[in-house]
Amino acid sequence: MESINDAALLDVLGQVPALCPDFGGAVLATRDGLVLAAIGDYRGDTPAACAASLSVHLQDDLQPLASGDTEAVLNEVLIFGDATLWYLSRLTAGHLLLLCSRQTVHVGAVRLAGQTTAMRLNRWLIPG
């Protein structure tokens, strides 16, 4: 059985603080909410579980609004809090990347940081 290169994932995540303004934390989670790698304030089980829950619920809640018989696929989501910005992205095999930035002005920088990190992580993730 192939295994995921944990060190490589952590190395990619480790570069997020330089890319993301006012970086809070980042977690790479499986679709069922298990931690694959995490840095900053998002170490521990809770952020990974939140990422999975968010992904499932947003998808379910938006499904009735999807046109025709198509499935509402959420590839990227940006969520604005009072002073927090979250970026959620779906990666290879349904894995999830959740980033947190403690500011809401530089939205484009957060999205670019998320997109860049997602592309780099995808190289190390095994397709389902």
């Binding site: 570069q15 330089a18 890319l19 993301c20 303004p21 809401t104 002005v105 530089h106 939205v107 484009g108 920088a109 999205r111 670019l112 940081a113 860049t116 592309m119 780099r120 190289r123």
Partner: protein, 184 residues
């Protein structure tokens, strides 16, 4: 004696404002992505940029005439300018904002990548507006065609096209794209 090609900040505004189509644009874009000054070996560089030597030579002349390129006797290393770090990008923008107190750099999705001197609500609004071109409040919009991406530098005043921070900014954004390992 080997001579080297050194692109100048002025070329960023001049040659990145549209997608690279002409030989001069191709050469500027190619040189911009190189981490060190390119030795002036026309046949080698022409091949690298997919041009005939005659077209390459004409492109060099055109770039030089527009002050987008200098021929120097000493090579320079720009590797550190390709390091993308959000804090460094903001520092470049601050240096670029010495003539105009307000600047917004927008992504191709109309979101604010970095800004200088703006309150949040104005910044988000102007980033979205400038994505579609100049606005009344921000009449100066400088598009930066960086491979697949088109970023825009927007200001209520003028943008100093000769400021070396503009060149560093472009290199840093290329550095970000190079992180993904995709061609820019």
């Amino acid at each position: 004696m080997t001579r080297y090609l050194e692109i100048q900040a002025r070329g960023v505004a001049q040659w990145l404002s549209e997608p690279a189509a002409s030989p001069a644009q191709q050469v500027f874009w190619g040189l911009l992505q190189m981490p060190r000054s390119a030795p002036l070996v026309p046949a080698e560089l022409a091949g690298r940029f997919g041009l005939e030597v005659a077209d390459f030579s004409r492109a060099l002349f055109e770039l030089n005439r527009g002050h987008a390129l200098q021929v120097t006797e000493r090579a320079r290393d720009h590797t550190e300018h390709f390091v993308y770090d959000f804090a460094l990008l903001c520092a470049d923008l601050r240096q670029l904002a010495t003539d105009t107190p307000q600047l917004v750099l927008t992504c191709d999705d109309g979101l604010c990548l970095a800004q200088q001197g703006l309150p949040e609500d104005v910044c988000l609004q102007q980033a979205a507006l400038c994505h579609h071109g100049a606005s009344q409040e921000f009449p100066c919009v400088l598009p930066l065609h960086l491979g697949e991406r088109v970023l825009r530098l927007c200001s209520p005043g003028t943008i100093d096209a000769t400021n070396t921070a503009l060149l560093r900014l472009a290199r840093r954004l290329i550095g970000l794209q190079q992180l993904t390992g995709l061609d820019v």
